[in-house]
Amino acid sequence: MYRISDQQIDYILSDIGARGVEMESLQQNLLDHVCCIIENNLEENGDFENFYKKTIQTFYKDELWEIEEETLLLLTYKNYYTMKKIMINSGIAAATFFIIGSFFKFMHWPGASMLIILGMAIGVLVYLPLLFLFKKNETTESRAKLVLAIGTINGILFCLNALFKVMHWPGANTMWFMTLGIFALVFIPLYFFNGIRDQANKINTITTTLILIILAGVFFLQTSLRPSFTVQKKTIQSDQHMEDSYHYATEQNKITYNSSVDSSNHKTSQEKLKLTCNALCEKIEKIKLNFIQQMEGDSSIREINYQDLENSGLSTNYDFPTRMLFTENGDAKDNLKNLKEDLINFNSYISSAYEQNSAKLINLSSQKDEMGIDGSWEKTKFYNNPLLCVLRNLTQLQLDIRFIESSCIKHHCN
C-alpha cells in the first residue's frame, strides 16, 4: 500500500482546482476519492505522478470540470419546473396587463398607466431574464449565448422604451435611438452571421433576418411619424397669431398710457402698474427665448420664429422643455419657480390695488388632468407638454397680463 505525503495532497488539490473544479466540497470529495484509489492500487515505491494522471483521467470524458457542471445542473434541476412555470405565467401576466392597459389608455380610462407599468415591470424583471436563463442552457456555444444575451437586453430596452413613450417620461427619444441602434447594428448582424454558419438553419436564418430588418425599418419609420402636416401647419399659424395679438395688446396699452398720462391724477400708481406688467412680460419672453436658444444651441437668437421651429422638428419635442423646467439642475427650473412667485405677487398686487378690475386675475389654481388627478398649475401647463404648447401657454400668460393691465388702466381713467 502506497502512503501519500502532504505535499502530494497539496499537489492533487491544486491540480483538481486547475482543471476547473471550483466547488470546495466537490474538490474534497474528488481528492479523497483519488487518494483512496492511489493508496489501494499503487505499490509502495510506485510512480505517483504517472499513476495519479492516469487515474484522474478515468474520472471524466473530456474535462474534469464536467463533474462540477453536472453537479450544478442537478442542483438547479430541482427548481427547473417551478422556474419554467413562473416564466410562462409571468409572460402571460405581462402580456395581459400590457394589452388591457393599452386598451385603457386608448379609451382614456383611469388606471391605464398602472396596468402598463405593472405589465412592463413583470416582463422586464421576471419574464425576459428567466427566458434568457432557459434559452442559455439550451446551447453550449458561447456565440449563440452572446446573441441571446444581446437579444434579451434589446427586448428589455424595447419594453422600457414603450413604457417611457406611453408615460411621456423624459429621455424616451435618446433611449429609443440607442435601442434601435443596438437592434439594427449589433443584434441583427450578430444573429445573421451566427445563424448562417449552420447549414441546416440557413433558410430560417435568412428569413428571420429579413423579418427583423423589416421590423427595424417599421420601427424607425414610426419614430418620425408626426401629426398631420396640415394640423401642424395651422397650429403653428395660430401660435403666430397669438404672439401677434400679444404684441398688439402691448402696443395698445402703451398708447392708452400715453393718452391718459396727462389727465391722470394717479401718476405714480399708473407708473407702477406699467413697470410691473412690463417686467413680468419681459421675464416670460426671456424664458421663451431661453428655450429656443438652448434647443437650437444658438444664444444669438433674439426672436421666436415659429416657422423655423416647425422646420427643425423641435416644435413637438417635449423632453427638452420638461427637462429644463423640472429636473433638479434644469436651466429653467429656477425661472419657473420665480415666475410662479411673481405671478402670485402680481395677483395680490392687482387685487389689492385694483379692486374693481374687470379682467380676472391670472388663474394659477390646479387642474384635473385627463385621468382625473389634480395637477399643479406648473405641471398642467408645462410638464410633458410639447415645446409648442409650452410656448403657447407662456404667450397666453403674457396676453392675460396685458388684458389685466388694460382693464386696470381703464380704472385709472375713470
Binding site: 495532497i9 466537490l26 479523497d32 478515468t58 442537478l74 434541476y77 430541482k78
Partner: protein, 113 residues
C-alpha cells in the same frame, strides 16, 4: 458484461440510497467499491456520476454529511436523513415495480435453470 451508463443513470439515486440504508454511513470511494463488489464488477459507478448525485441528494435533504480528517485531507461521510429513509423505501419499491413492468413489456421470460 458492464451495464451501459444510460441504464445506470436512472437507477443511481436508488442504488446510493439503498446502500446508505444498509450501511449507515459511507464515503464516495467506499460506495463505488461496494457496488463493484456486490455486482461482481457488472456495475461500475463513475466518479462523474456519483458525486453530482450525492450533492443533489444532499441538497434535497435526503442525506446528511459529516466530515473526518484523514491526515491533511477531508473525508465526507454520507448517511440517510429521516426523510431519506422514507424516500429509499419509495424508490426501491418504485424500481421493483418498474422492473416488473419492463419484464412484462419486453416479454422477458424468467430464466429457467
Amino acid at each position: 458484461m458492464i451495464y451501459s451508463s444510460e441504464l445506470i443513470k436512472g437507477t443511481l439515486k436508488t442504488i446510493v440510497l439503498k446502500l446508505l440504508a444498509d450501511n449507515k454511513k459511507m464515503y464516495g470511494y467506499e460506495i463505488t467499491q461496494r457496488v463493484k463488489e456486490l455486482t461482481l464488477d457488472k456495475i461500475q459507478i463513475t466518479e462523474g456520476a456519483l458525486y453530482p448525485t450525492l450533492h443533489a441528494l444532499e441538497s434535497d435533504g435526503l442525506v446528511t454529511t459529516e466530515t473526518e480528517f484523514i491526515g491533511k485531507r477531508v473525508r465526507k461521510y454520507y448517511s440517510l436523513s429521516p426523510s431519506g429513509k422514507n424516500k429509499t423505501k419509495e424508490k426501491v419499491s418504485e424500481l421493483a415495480d418498474f422492473m416488473d413492468t419492463m419484464k412484462f413489456l419486453l416479454d422477458i421470460k424468467p430464466k429457467t435453470a
